[in-house]
Structures are given as C-alpha cells and as structure tokens.
C-alpha cells in the first residue's frame, strides 16, 4: 500500500547540510500498524511529513520515491496532493495546537474538515441554495456529533461548542483524531499521539486507535520514542537512528530477538518491572548531531559496543536476515 524508497530530506543550514532523513526504506501493508521508533531528532516527523509533502522550509526532499497505492506521491501536482491529504492520508500532528485553532469551537473545526473535503455533498445549487446550505450544515452537524461520539467525547452536543482550551489533553487528542477520521482515510499518520498524555489516558487513546484500525481497516504509521508502547500497539516495528532505518520487522522479532546493537541497547536500557532489580544498562555517549555526522560508515559507530574498525568506512544498506526482518549493520553483511 505504501512503499518508501531511498528517501532523503536535507536541511541547508549555516552549520552545513543536516541530513534529517538519509536514505530511508519503508513499506506498509494494508490494514497494518507500523511503529516508527527512534530518539529525538532521528527524523521520524520528517519522514511522515515527507509522505504528505509538507516538509517545512528550508528542508527539501532531495531524493527518493514514495509510492502510495502504486503511484509516486513525489510526482503529484500540488492540487493532486491537496486532494490526497486528509482524504486518503490523514495526519495527527505531534503538537495538538498545530491542528486545533484556539479561537474556534471544536465541533466547528471538525465540521470544517468535512466541508473542505466535501463529505456531505450539496444536493442542488440554484435559487434554493440558501435553504440547501442550511440543510447541509445540519447534516454535517449530525455527522460531527457522530464522529465525536465515536472517538469517545461524551456529551458531544454540549461539547460541540466548547473551545480547545476547555478540553483536557486527552480530549484534545480525541478531537484531533475525529478530524483525521472525518474523511475515512486509508492511511493514518500518527506522530507521537500519546506522548503528552498520562498513562491511563494513553491507554484510552491506543484503545481507540486500535478499534479504528480493526473496524475501518485503516492502516496506521505510529511514531513514538517509546519502544514499550510500540511493542504493545504495532504489528511491525521500524527503528530509526540518525535519519535511517537500522532495523525493521515483525514486532515479535524486533522486540523478542533484536539484532542491531542500537535496538539491543535501547531494550536493555528500559527499566523493567521484574522482581530482581539490576543496574540499568546505559548506551554510552550522546545522541548524534546530524550536521556534523560523517557521511561515511555507520552513524551508530561511536556509541556502539560491538563496533569494529571497518564500521567507520563501511557502505551499509538494509539486509534481510529472515523473512521480513531487516538489519543495517556490518555483522549481517
């Protein structure tokens, strides 16, 4: 359904070129949930934004293909893209306030997105257009109430006219999901939709997204820095480091038998609730600065405990190590 090939996104800055996404390959089957996991700055958001062609200035997609249902999104015209955005592919942005406008009632904002995509068609133009408009609005209102109910906003008729600040964080996130779902998209891009929320609210939202996936068959790319959330929620996991996928595969493989030293390190460094407490393993060093990262070799080299001299120079790509499981590391070349 979606296939990304060798995607590269570059930011030209005065400190040099920042390779935010650096030769990324990713694919997603219909109806599946893919978790995109990685630390801050590893390029998760830029990958999602690339799919919608919304990479902010001065960032640029310089190479690659993004095939959605067989067609390359990077070759579409701006008007074709506008058509696709929201209708076929919807996104939940990392910051709720980029989606919700503080000065309009929440319900009206959901209605607006129905209107933009022409979900409720006007019946007939003409002299009676005025009356038709009223009728259309009423239908849209009903649809909004239905959507709000579906995403778990109780008393939707009352909440329709509430403003975003009158909603709690979890409620705002539900409203955003309602907007994303308003056109029944085939693919939902969710950028850290639960990071700002409490665990009990996170559980509610994940539950909701899971239902949407099951009932509507919506495919989801779920971005998170929390490996445990991805492990529970996703069918497949792709681990990102410095703009590249370093490991991907079915969740049981990536979490159960991690191959890449970075994935292994991440899994070991998460505190676990087990009877026996041990000192935590810590991955040495710091998250790399993409502007000063050497273009050659493995970007994890300096922090890797399994590294050998050759890692500094090696030309790497994702290698299939078992059915559907890929790793980018010299040990699997």
């Amino acid at each position: 359904m979606l296939e990304i090939r060798n995607l590269k996104v570059i930011f030209e800055t005065d400190r040099g070129a920042v390779r935010a996404v650096n030769g990324l390959d990713l694919s997603l089957e219909k109806g599946k949930i893919l978790g995109l996991v990685g630390e801050s700055g590893s390029g998760k958001s830029m990958t999602l934004l690339s799919i919608l062609r919304l990479v902010p200035y001065p960032g640029k997609i310089v190479e690659g293909e993004i095939l959605f249902e067989g067609e390359d999104l990077l070759k579409k015209s701006p008007s074709e893209m506008r058509e696709i955005r929201g209708k076929d592919i919807a996104m939940i942005f990392q910051d709720p306030m980029t989606t919700l406008n503080p000065v309009f009632p929440v319900g009206e904002q959901i209605r607006e997105s129905l209107r933009v995509h022409n979900i409720i068609k006007p019946e007939r133009e003409g002299i009676l257009g005025f009356l038709r408009e009223k009728d259309r609005r009423k239908k849209e209102y009903e649809k909004v109430v239905e959507l709000m109910e579906k995403v778990g906003i109780s008393y939707p008729e009352k909440r329709y006219f509430s403003y975003p600040h009158q909603f709690s964080g979890g409620m705002q996130q539900r409203a955003i999901i309602a907007i994303a779902l308003s056109c029944n998209p085939k693919l939902l891009l969710a950028d850290e939709p639960t990071t700002a929320l409490d665990v009990t609210i996170q559980a509610q939202i994940l539950d909701l997204l899971r239902k949407i996936n099951e009932v509507n068959g919506t495919s989801i790319i779920f971005v998170t820095h929390d490996l445990a959330v991805a492990a529970e929620f996703c069918d497949e996991i792709a681990v990102m480091y410095a703009g590249q996928i370093v490991e991907k595969g079915p969740v049981d493989k990536v979490i159960g038998e991690p191959k890449h030293p970075y994935t292994k390190g991440l899994l070991k460094s998460i505190p676990k609730i087990t009877r026996k407490k041990e000192k935590l393993y810590a991955i040495p060093g710091n998250v790399p600065d993409l502007a000063s990262l050497s273009p050659k070799g493995c970007p994890f080299y300096e922090r890797c405990e399994e590294a050998v001299e050759e890692c500094k120079e090696v030309e790497l790509s994702l290698i299939e190590v078992s059915d559907g499981e890929f790793v980018r590391c010299i040990k699997y070349l």
Binding site: H225, A228, A231, P271, A282
Partner: protein, 341 residues
C-alpha cells in the same frame, strides 16, 4: 554508606525518620482576571493542589512519588523544599518544624534540601556559563576562596560525568542529558542531604535516561543522600524507589514498599495505573483496566473519595459521601479506600 535496611517493612530506627510531613496543604488562590471581575458572581478559585498529605521519608531511602499530570507532585516537592510557602501543616526535618521557618533558618534548610527540575532546557539561565551557574551555590555555602571554588567546580563536573573543559560553555551548547547533569551538579554544590528530583529524566531520550538514573543512584550511595523521586513513568519509579506513594488529586491514595505497590496493589487507582504501563515483555503485561473519563479539577474535587468518579470498584454511596482516610492494612502498606476499612 549503606541503605536503610528494611526488615519486614519496619525501618531501621537508628536512622529513623528524616523528614516528616504532617497534614501538609498547598492551595493556590486564582484571582479572577480583569474581565471576569466585573461579573459579580465570579469568585476567587482555590486550587487545592496539595490537600492534607502525611508522609515520612527515612534517611537514605528513595521515596517514589507517582500520579497523573496535575495531581500535585511538583507542588508537593516545591513545598517540601520550601520554594513554596505551605498553606497549612508541618514539615519536620530532623526534629524541627520548618514549615514556617524564615530568614537564616530557612536559608540553612534550603541548602540541605535541594531540587532537580524536570526541564533541563528551561531550568538553567542561558546567559550564564557553567562556571557561573555553579559558583552561586558554592558562595552560598561559604566557599569564599576562588581556588578552592575552582577545584570544587572541577570535582563536581567530573562527578556528574562532564569534562572540566566545559566550564566556560553556555547551557545551549549542551545536549539535554548534559544539561540535566549540570542541574545535578548545581544541586550537589550545596552539599545537600535531601534531594527532590522532579521528573529528572522525563525530558530526556531513552538512551540517555539510563545514564542519568545510574548517576543519581551512584551519588545517593556515595553521598548518603535521601531522595523524593517524582515521575509519571512507573517503570522508572519502580527501578529507583525503596517505597512509593501514589497520588491522585492532591492526596495520597496508596503508600508502601515498592514491591508491595507494584506486585500487590490494593487501591483501584493504583491497579488501573499499573495496568496501563506498556511493556516490551508480553508475559509481563497485565490485563488492562481502561479508566473512564479524565482527572477532575482540583478546584472542585469530587466529594467523598476523590477517585469515585472514575472508580471501577466503587463500593456504594459511602464512596460518594465519605472521604476515606489513609489506613495501614499490613506492615507499612497504607491505602485510602473504603474497600479496606
């Protein structure tokens, strides 16, 4: 430097209670803004952020504090170190009530009780170098000789895993993890005995969190520190704490040894909270209890048990009418719930 041994939940009395918090309250009065002031019926709103909390922290232990956003964790921490004025109650530190301490006495206390803040990006002054940042507390504890101070700064930086070459750098030149290390060095400069660590790793990347947690644990052993460790990340709290307090809407709902809280939780809220923790290990996953609704406002907390609006085990009318008190149900395991009274 040893940990206080826990024998069947009874704490070593020789080390004994270090800080005792009694009926502590911190209310915020929200004055109506100009616009709403003209509406005659609008009154001042009282936010009961910390509402009658009792807690004892023993010397050398790490007390974990968990709870959802807005339940009053930070407020409690800031009040205990007296960066906030308590509305009511006592804070007994080594036998002396410092809840209303002023002047010299307060200054003295603030040296011994330090806080590490949640956000390493905003808690350091961007216009000061690391040297400036660390000089202030050193002068406060009376290190007047500049050479000694210099040595001390070098020692502190090294202790938190930074290079002394970093001394003249500004905060923005550091990564998040490094900034948190500077924050820790600043707290240590005072030679404190007690540290409130308010979400010290929440803003950090997963691979960096473990570094900071390990550092805090090493420092505790080495300097015989006592921690109040605040976090909404239950796995982190499990890992570092000897005992854990679970907070909801300004109150403690359950308190006990870490193992009791995590493996034998009794309060419905604790149960729900624990069931919601995502885990990488399939076998460790608990049956998820999805709590309905959201946390009510601390301005008008529900009558009776504060949790009754979301409780899935509600006993009956009593939960809506009578506020349950924190009671000991077994050795050192306390719970505030009508199911256990």
């Amino acid at each position: 430097m040893h940990k206080v041994p826990l024998k069947d939940g009874v704490l070593d009395m020789e080390n004994g209670t270090f800080i005792q918090i009694k009926n502590l309250k911190k209310y915020f009065i929200e004055e109506p803004d100009l616009l709403t002031r003209v509406v005659p019926k609008k009154k001042k709103r009282v936010v009961k952020a910390v509402d009658d909390i009792n807690l004892e922290i023993n010397k050398g232990e790490t007390m974990g504090l968990v709870g959802e956003s807005g339940c009053g964790k930070t407020t409690l921490g800031l009040t205990i170190v007296r960066l906030y004025e308590p509305t009511d109650g006592k804070i007994i530190f080594e036998g002396e009530d410092i809840a209303e301490a002023r002047g010299e006495k307060l200054k003295e206390y603030r040296k011994r009780a330090q806080i590490i803040f949640q956000n390493p990006y905003s808690s350091l002054n961007p216009r000061k170098t690391v040297r400036d940042i660390l000089t202030v507390p050193l002068i406060a504890v009376g290190v007047k000789n500049p050479h000694v101070r210099e040595e001390r700064i070098e020692y502190l930086l090294e202790r938190v895993g930074l290079n002394h070459r970093h001394m003249d750098s500004y905060p923005h030149q550091f990564s998040g993890g490094q900034r948190q290390r500077i924050g820790i060095a600043r707290a240590l400069a005072m030679n404190p005995q007690f540290i409130v660590a308010d979400e010290p790793v929440s803003a950090l990347d997963v691979s960096i969190q473990a570094q900071i947690i390990n550092l805090l644990e090493e420092l505790k052993e080495e300097l015989n520190l006592t921690y109040l460790f605040i976090s909404h990340d239950l796995s982190v709290v499990y890992h570092v704490s000897d005992r854990v307090a679970v907070m909801y809407l300004g109150k403690i709902m359950e308190l006990g040894k870490t193992e009791d809280i995590f493996f034998n939780p009794v309060h419905p809220y604790t149960k729900a909270l624990l069931s919601a923790i995502p885990s990488v290990d399939k076998r460790k996953r608990r049956k998820r209890i999805i709590l309905e609704g959201t946390v009510p406002s601390p301005v008008n907390p529900p009558k009776g048990c504060r949790f009754h609006t979301r409780c899935f085990m509600k006993k009956g009318k009593i939960c809506e009418e009578v506020e349950p008190q924190l009671k000991e149900i077994e050795n050192g395991h306390f719970v505030a719930c009508h199911l256990y009274s």
